[in-house]
């Protein structure tokens, strides 16, 4: 009983590209999954197309989160560092197509539109991303903290937020003989 007719990654990429057109700035394959990058302004329309577009039907909402790329590459390759982004993953259950949507947001007052109107399940994911990365989701129906106490200061998953135990003591792993230069990374 093959319920899933797997679509070849190249075909999936072609379909996503033709459906999304100019609303994404980049589309490529990464380990068999489609990766697209889009501006926050286009985020909602991109997600709607992915959910409803013919031949796409990414009905399944997997997760939404963020990545803080400001310390990427560490001290060795600082030129690799990037900014803050929202990452959303959706999946087409009938074709086993994965789409990762990357949405770069600014570091100063990062704002991203909410997609709770498209995927109801994004509510918790957006609340978590908001408190962990300090990204504001515009239009979120219930913008309160999910895990952290209301008076918590800072955004724990930002790279500038140091783990308290690492403030007291550097990473013990750095003392390994073959890699003495491994600096603490927040």
């Amino acid at each position: 009983m093959p319920v899933v007719e797997r679509l070849a990654p190249e075909d999936a990429l072609a379909r996503v590209q033709s459906a999304l057109g100019d609303s994404v700035t980049e589309a490529r394959l990464n380990f068999g999954q489609v990766d697209v990058t889009c501006e926050p302004a286009n985020f909602v329309s991109v997600m709607r197309t992915l959910r409803d577009g013919e031949g796409l039907e990414c009905k399944f909402f997997t997760f939404l989160s963020g990545i803080d790329r400001t310390a990427f590459g560490g001290t060795d390759k600082p030129e690799k560092a990037g900014g803050l982004e929202v990452l959303c993953h959706v999946y087409a259950p009938d074709r086993a197509v994965h789409v990762n949507v990357h949405v770069p947001v600014g570091l100063e007052d990062p704002v991203c539109p909410t997609i709770t109107g498209i995927y109801a399940g994004a509510e918790w994911h957006e609340r978590e991303t908001a408190e962990m990365f300090g990204i504001r989701f515009e239009g979120h129906p219930n913008p309160v903290k999910l895990y952290l106490p209301e008076d918590f200061e800072g955004h724990p998953l930002r790279k500038t937020f140091r783990l308290p135990s690492r403030i007291i003591k550097d990473w013990p792993g750095a003392k390994d003989p073959e890699e003495a230069a491994a600096g603490g990374r927040g």
Binding site: V4, R6, Q33, F61, T62, I67, K80, A120, G121, R166
Partner: protein, 386 residues
């Protein structure tokens, strides 16, 4: 959250209701938890009730938030295996699997066939342990105590087999990038087969005991219905999703390890009520047991750990790997910048997405059904909070 002024009944309305012969009720807030036997951990439900009806029920999580996504950034890959094993404490081995697979994908490590087969055996045995636990807890919450003793008796043989291999009963820490920590000891196959055959032989009895029970049926059929559409919207997976006709199983849809070599079936049901969720859970136990039996038959010989560099250092890149955890899809989005520590891992746990759908289902149900619904939502709080 809570009652706003608009919700409070005006006196005229109460008079009107009484005149119409209805009961004049008032909304009140009932706080369920954070310590409640039906919540499997520290979970709070802020329920607004009107008479016998749940007007709203907001799950409040975070009492067990340990910040795994931050902690993993501070540890090297070998340490993380043991950390993620503790996320969902009922299925430790299954938590380690996507992490190991993600590291192997980025590093292009080859996993020896024997390690892959043994991983399947251990993961499926862990699934049986997890499912039997929820089989007993759901029954106990509905007032049937007997299944508890049966479930724990059946669990013990499989648990012992797992203990023979890993030395642990809950947090195994046994998978390594590239394979397994060590080979299985002598006598393991016999012990494992004894355990799973027992499960296969005795499960029909348990089915009669509960699924055929009139009281059980009345308390679960058409109670807490989750629609297929909502399941997709919230990303509900596992036995709960499949109980709502979301016919998804990573093991079949995108086979990892050697799952495509076994003869088994994905169980699903279409009503989306408590009964169907439980039905799927119970039937999955047998399917897992079948996989274990076949895998033990076919386990190839050879090493259990591939050629792994002494320092595990994933090259720059990112990958999303998902596995079928007992409770649903467990995914890890691993971002590496070439360090010995991951740059970021987004851990997508099944319980988190599943519990986020709870509010929608609980709205409008009766207080008396609340425990049945909570119990049928097989979740582990450690997995929700991470």
């Amino acid at each position: 959250m809570g009652i706003t002024e608009q919700d409070a009944r005006l006196p005229e309305e109460v008079v009107k209701q009484l005149a119409e012969g209805r009961l004049a009720t008032e909304q009140m807030i009932l706080n369920v938890g954070p310590q409640h036997p039906a919540t499997h951990g520290v979970f709070r439900l802020l329920a607004t009730i009107d008479g016998e009806v749940l007007v709203d029920a907001e799950p409040i999580v975070g009492y067990m938030h340990r910040g795994y996504e931050k902690l993993v950034e501070q540890r090297d890959y070998r340490q993380i295996t043991n950390l993620v094993s503790r996320m969902d404490w009922l299925s430790g081995i299954n938590n380690e699997l996507p992490l190991a697979l993600a590291i192997e994908t980025l590093m292009e490590l080859d996993v020896p066939p024997r390690a892959q087969w043994l991983r399947v055996i251990l993961a499926e045995m862990n699934r049986i342990l997890n499912h039997l636990m929820f089989f007993q807890s759901f029954s106990a919450e509905l007032g049937a105590i007997t299944p508890t003793f049966y479930a724990f008796r059946e669990r013990e043989d499989i648990q012992y087999a797992m203990e023979m291999v890993t030395g642990g009963r809950m947090h195994f820490g046994f998978f390594r990038p590239g394979g397994l920590k060590e080979d299985v000891p002598r006598g393991f196959y016999d012990q494992a087969l004894k355990g799973v055959r027992q499960v296969i032989a005795r499960l029909p009895d348990y089915e009669d005991l509960l699924i055929g029970n009139e009281i059980f049926k009345q308390r679960t059929i058409n109670v807490g219905v989750l629609s297929k559409e909502s399941a997709y919207q919230y990303g509900v997976t596992g036995p709960i999703g499949r109980g709502s006709d979301v016919d998804m199983d990573v093991r079949r849809d995108e086979p990892y390890l050697v799952y495509d070599q076994f003869d088994w079936e994905v169980q699903s049901a279409s009503h989306g009520d408590c009964f169907d969720r439980f039905w799927v859970l119970l039937h999955e136990v047998v399917e897992s047991a079948k996989i274990v039996e076949q895998a033990i038959e076919g386990v190839p010989s050879g090493p259990v750990l591939g050629k792994v560099p002494r320092v595990i250092q994933a090259p720059e890149g990112e990958v999303y790997i998902r596995c079928e955890n007992p409770l649903g899809e467990l995914g890890m989005y691993l971002v590496s910048d070439g360090d010995r520590r991951p740059y970021r891992i987004k851990i997508r746990t099944p319980s988190y997405s599943n519990v986020s759908a709870l509010r929608e289902i609980l709205r409008g149900t009766l207080v008396a059904d609340m425990i049945a619904i909570l119990g049928s939502f097989f979740f582990v709080l450690g997995d929700v909070d991470r």
